[in-house]
Amino acid sequence: MILVIQQLSRQGVAALRLLAVMTVVLGVLYPASVWAVGQAFGGRPDGQLVKVDGRTVGSRLIGQDFSGSTWFHSRPSAGDWDGLASAPSNLGPSNPELLKAIEDRRAAVAAEEGVDPSDVPPDALTTSASGLDPYISPEYARIQVDRVARQNDLSRAVVARLVADHAQGRQLGFLGEPKVDVLDLNLAVRSAVEGAH
């Protein structure tokens, strides 16, 4: 037993010294180097912040609350769009609370957008994994066109055009799902409104 403790403490000194060296290399020099390299990519490593008239209005990668009727809505968020509380709902696949939430959302979206309940796409009915999903499906964007046009006094064709312009296909042609960035789309809507008045 004494031998074990002696051995451990001798190794412990070496361990402590190695840990100190590694903390400097891996915990200070390494992240600082990556940060320095990142400076060569402009503002991209800051989170693709979007500026309008010199004011930062958000990140292209972080979803926002667009529940107002003039906006294209984001997906439901389990974290209430709190940038410091990314979270999924963690509701299980047979949890009655989740099943009810889905049915409630289906009815609400169908009523608001004036579409048949069966035409409401899945992403409009479910919360994302991050609670900050910046994207919606092109289908969800399309069923919102009529309302957004009406609420902003824009023609349906103009708004439909904006959706078409902002719909992104699969990355490299095959990776992931088609999507629309909601912040980008709403910025375009706002520009169109400002241009029209």
């Binding site: 403490s9 412990g12 609350d65 410091l84 999924p88 299980g92 994994a129 990776l175 992931g176």
Partner: protein, 552 residues
Amino acid sequence: MTDTLSGLLTIAALLALLALAYVPLGDHMARVLTSTRHTRLERGIYRVVGVDPDAEMSPRGYVMGVLAFSAVSIALLMAILMGQAALPWDRGLPGMPWDMALNTAVSFVTNTNWQSYAGESTLGFAAQAGGLAVQNFLSAAVGLAVAVAVIRGFTRARSSTIGSFWVDLVRGVLRILLPLALVGAVVLLVLGVVQSFTDTTVQTLAGGTQTVPGGPVASQEVIKQLGTNGGGFFNANSAHPFENPSALSNLFAIFLLLVIPVSLTRTLGTLLGDRRQGYTVLGAMAFLWGTALAVTTWSEAGGHGQSAVAAGSAMEGKETQLGTWASSLFAVSTTGTSTGAVNASHDSMTPLGGGTALVHMMLGEVSPGGVGTGLYGILVVAILAVFVAGLMVGRTPELLGKKIGAREMTYVALYTLVTPALVLVGVGLAVALPSTGDAMGNPGGHGFSEVVYAFTSAANNNGSAFGGLTVTSTFFQLSLAAAMLLGRLVPIVLVLLLAGSLARQRKVPTTAGTLATNTPLFAGLVVGVVVLVSALTYFPTLALGPIAEALS
């Protein structure tokens, strides 16, 4: 293009990337871990540390090295987490309470990366980069070191030593993990992962306020995957757009978390001088991974569950741009590698999808397992397989020229039992406590599955969660910390003693009666043993949780 074609092409792209890296990385690791030369930088480090790099260690000495290094690492990380307010870039956040700090320190040192805290609201940047990310490197390097020590058990004869822990550790970091991490981090920067030291508060378009978090994410994200750690910078882990901004970064993340465990089978084949042995091990791992992927994807992409049917697709807890296919691929790879990063909510997966994630961990993290841990894990299974085969034909079992005697089988049996014992005792204790019912985030069998998932994840050092379970009570912090610590260190001690026992033996010549272990038949035997052992151990528990839910 249909989702199915897109998903299949994604899997094909992943396999192609892994195939490209397999030989160069596997052989590089073999060279690094057997080289007799030290670089100038390494010599400097050994001098500072005070160790002789050419002095080899006995199995006992190697064990002491791992234990001492783990103890010191836990102590320092706990101090950093509890005292983070004194560090720069603390973001005005207080230190962690002691039980959460202990749980987190154990979690990161054991390569588990179970998280009972939410990164963006709990930790400053210095604690993340200087504490957690450091252990992301070191815990992976410890796994690698133990794996190479075990390989030496097979390649050496009449040897009382199994290498130097310090040398294996330093080389693993400086020649394998750090160079790959630097390259990978730059790729992540290009793909849009964040690397900053400021949070930004913005006025949103709709007139609200939102804090857009910053942080040294890219540098931590890359080693989180590469080292099969899995602890997210943010609470949402790889679902967070700042950790995983696109479908391409998602593919790259899955590649990173698989590449070392997969390529280590090449390292094994190269070091044994029998490449087919490496392919055989890889074949067994790939079969298990592929089966899990097929089942999960069928259930997730097919929408086989009540909520998926209600919503028209299993999109609850998934990101729009990733969808069901890429989320399934990630879930299977993260649970098969002991990574535990998630790009979707496992708690909200379809019953069969979430159940497969759980079962995949219960297989013991060998498909293909964590960095190093997967390799020594499957070698232990291989010993069990030759033992079973030996019983059937009545011969003394041998593996790779070493006799498997009573001593070796004792280590193997204990190794096989320790993790299931931790899981089942932990679950038993938890469900006996009245407070556990309130901690569950879902009613019925699914709530029970959350508890089973937590202890399975902890004891197997995975780190993913059915996140609905509230695990911040002192009971869960301490019991899960114990499961992580014992689930990591007891198997390591056993496997190092096993390596020592094998290294001491002479090599037995191969005869006509020797069971060939580099054939598809043997790969099948290994798969059979993996499945049989887990099924016998866990079936009653699974019947109460995911099986009941899937049938309801």
